[in-house]
């Protein structure tokens, strides 16, 4: 439901009239929601507002058809990240076509500023964002989300995917900013990964 904008006349003279007018508004809203089901609020968390398909919510690590992470542990996201919230450890996967993969991939969601630079810097479409934005936990450690939890998020259908490379145009300012940061500060441009025959 879209929120409507109410215009307020601030030149009202003090007195009883504005108070009564105010009560009138309250009463109208009260009866509207009670009998006509026209409430501006929703019953969160049972119901959720729909957000843009380019919404930058909690990250998702995408996977290949065989269930392994698409990520090749190139550290582009960790390099470009302005909040330094991504921690990666790389390992060797000798039997696969691409020999490098992340043995650890952790994002500190409390440090993350949800800028989407990681998605822009990724040469693999391995990290994308979801539309999920309700971040709740009982401890800080719980909100440092590891590789397996990031990959399990692939199955989250209720929110739909958020910001991902398929949506963006290469000329988009966010992507240009991310790539320029990589190039200017680190002298690198993410290329395409190699495969083995």
């Amino acid at each position: 439901m879209a929120a409507s904008v109410v215009t307020v006349d601030r030149n009202l003279k003090p007195g009883v009239t504005p108070i009564l007018k105010g009560f009138g508004v309250t009463l109208k809203a009260f009866f509207d929601s009670l009998f006509r089901r026209k409430a501006s609020t929703i019953e969160f968390p049972e119901k959720k507002r729909s957000v843009s398909s380019r919404y930058r919510g909690i990250h998702v690590l995408t996977e290949r058809e065989d269930g392994t992470p698409k990520c090749v542990a190139c550290y582009m996201c960790a390099t470009v990240c302005p909040a330094e919230c991504i921690y990666i450890e790389a390992g060797e996967r000798p039997e696969a076509t691409i020999e490098k993969y992340p043995t650890r991939f952790e994002i500190d969601l409390l440090r993350c500023v949800y800028c989407g630079f990681c998605v822009d810097a990724c040469p693999e479409e391995a990290i994308i964002m979801s539309r999920e934005n309700d971040l709740v936990g009982t401890s800080r450690a719980e909100l440092i989300i590891d590789r397996d939890r990031l990959m399990a998020r692939n199955e989250l259908v209720e929110h739909g995917t958020g910001y991902r490379p398929a949506d963006h145009d290469v000329r988009r300012p966010v992507r240009i900013a991310a790539l320029e940061r990589l190039k200017a500060e680190h002298g690198i441009v993410p290329g395409m990964p190699g495969t083995r025959s």
């Binding site: 090749v72 060797e92 441009v189 290329g191 990964p193 190699g194």
Partner: protein, 530 residues
């Protein structure tokens, strides 16, 4: 001395100098793959083509000698175009797999294709010639697809180690480097192959996938592995040393370094470091603060007076040894360093490249500072006869020597400055935590009497402090302060007090060290061995 102009700047160089070296001297970097300052010129990659006025065609800067009045343009339209075309040829079969390649960030090919904006390859991945990937050559991983066929590794094997392990095989597009039958590399200079390789074809197994190089911060230092004193970079991230890498010094190690030296970073960040002081209590060790431990040692030294002995360590820096010597002299005690004859193997080489038989970095410094004074044998004899009441060791290495063990057992008070835990520390009364070479400022004097500087790259663990600081703490407690608060000041004191070091300070030592005049008092036998 011909004079030439490169990119509008004049330079006079000795006859026979190549254009690329003259440009280096001016700080102009001409793109290159096959040229390396310490390898013979090959001229095969054609990347360094430059325009020379009055020459009809472009010349390769690495093999063109400077002549009088030569005018060179390295960045002219013609030169740029030639370099760009060369790059395109190299990129035909290159997989451009920078995301998974460890060389990314220090790769000539990556740097140069970015300079020219050649971000993508014009050839589809499926059409590229496939070569051997992921070949494990022991300390090195070979990926022939990434190779640009510059032959640096082949020339390194031929000229430096003389082992000739690498050669080109096949022809044309299918040319690739290989060892004979894919055998592993078995010499102790394999790490240099990863360094000379301008691309990601030869990569270090040890550093594989460990870290992206752009996260690393480099610190100039000196390898403590032997008396050669190779100049190194200590590459560190967040206080953790990730690798050692040779730093070019034409007079010491050129661009090379041995693998045992490269592995020395591993001893820095281990959990078995001594991080706090401890003294022997009635039944077991008691952890104490460094100050309390120093109090205890100072009390023992005061009580022992001249019945104390000091054994310095050639693992310590000149500053460490100088402060230690001052400490010994404060009490009129006996002083020497190291078991055996220190001069004997100081300059003896154990291979034809770099390594020397003396595995201590600062034996020459100990000799120069006059620490070899009373003789280790005499000190040990005094220990055995019970005439020594307090023994201070600058390093625990000596406790591992069997002939020393029984002598030390006779001494009622033994203090040792240690970096790593070990069973030998149980023979001490007080253990003081010492900083390692990568954690302290200081200087080493190598076997050729070259004073070279170390820099603190990472913080020492826990309470550990440089050994000169521990010695200075003891001097303060004995009422004879050293009069220096930093390693730089200790070195200035040392320079004043030591023959041959006069007038030296850290500034004069500089980045690549300062050779001292040969010591006249050196024995002729030592010179003959060199």
């Amino acid at each position: 001395m011909p004079k030439c102009t490169i990119d509008g700047r004049e330079i006079e160089v000795p006859a026979g100098t190549t254009v690329i070296r003259a440009a280096e001297e001016l700080g102009i970097r001409i793109p290159r793959f096959c040229w390396h300052p310490d390898l013979p010129v090959d001229g095969n990659c054609r990347m360094c083509q430059v325009e020379v006025e009055k020459m009809p065609k472009l010349q390769i800067a690495c093999n063109t000698q400077v002549t009088e009045g030569m005018v060179v343009h390295t960045k002219s339209e013609k030169a740029k175009e030639a370099q760009r075309a060369t790059l395109e040829f190299l990129l035909i079969n290159h997989p451009i797999d920078c995301p998974v390649c460890d060389q990314a960030g220090e790769c000539y090919l990556q740097d140069q294709y970015m300079d020219h904006g050649l971000y993508g390859s014009k050839v589809e991945l499926e059409d590229k010639v496939r070569k051997r990937k992921l070949v494990d050559l022991g300390p090195i991983m070979l990926d022939a697809e990434r190779c640009v066929l510059c032959s640096r590794c082949i020339r390194f094997e031929r000229e430096v180690t003389g082992t000739n392990l690498f050669e080109f095989v096949n022809r044309g597009d299918h040319t690739q480097i290989s060892t004979f039958e894919g055998r592993p590399i078995d010499h102790e200079y394999a790490g240099n192959l990863a360094d000379v390789c301008p691309v990601g074809a030869l990569l270090s197994h040890d550093f594989r996938f460990k870290m992206r190089v752009w996260f690393l911060k480099e610190h100039e230092s000196v390898c403590p592995g032997c008396s050669t004193g190779c100049n190194v970079f200590v590459d560190e991230r967040d206080g953790e040393v990730q690798r050692l890498r040779p730093r070019r010094n034409a007079d010491v190690n050129r661009s090379w370094m041995c693998d045992p030296g490269r592995a020395l970073y591993k001893e820095i960040g281990v959990t078995s470091r001594v991080s706090g002081a401890r003294v022997r209590g009635p039944s077991s060790w008691e952890g104490v603060t460094v100050a309390a431990a120093l109090d205890r040692v100072a009390a023992a030294l005061k009580q022992a007076g001249s019945a104390s002995a000091f054994l310095a360590s050639p693992q310590g820096t000149n500053e460490d040894v100088f402060a230690f010597k001052a400490l010994a002299e404060a009490g009129g005690a006996k002083l020497d360093f190291r078991v055996g004859d220190p001069q004997k193997r100081l300059r003896e080489r154990i291979d034809r490249v770099l390594q020397r038989a003396d595995r201590n970095p600062n034996t020459q410094g100990c000799l120069d500072l006059g620490v070899g004074r009373d003789g280790v044998d005499a000190i040990l004899a005094a220990c055995r006869s019970g005439r020594i009441e307090a023994l201070v060791l600058q390093g625990p290495e000596i406790l591992r020597v069997p002939e020393v063990v029984d002598a030390v057992a006779k001494v009622p008070f033994v203090a040792v400055m240690a970096t790593h835990e070990g069973p030998e520390l149980d023979r001490a009364t007080v253990v003081l935590p010492a900083a390692l070479w990568a954690e302290a400022e200081g200087t080493f004097t190598n076997c050729d009497r070259r004073v070279q500087r170390l820099r603190a790259a990472v913080p020492p663990p826990g309470d550990a402090a440089p050994r000169w600081e521990l010695a200075a703490g003891l001097l303060l407690r004995l009422g004879r302060p050293l009069g220096a608060a930093t390693a730089r000041e200790v070195f200035s004191l040392l320079a004043k007090a030591t023959r041959g070091y006069a007038g030296l300070d850290y500034r004069a030592v500089g980045g690549t060290g300062r050779p001292l005049p040969p010591d006249e008092s050196a024995s002729p036998a030592q010179e003959a061995r060199a």
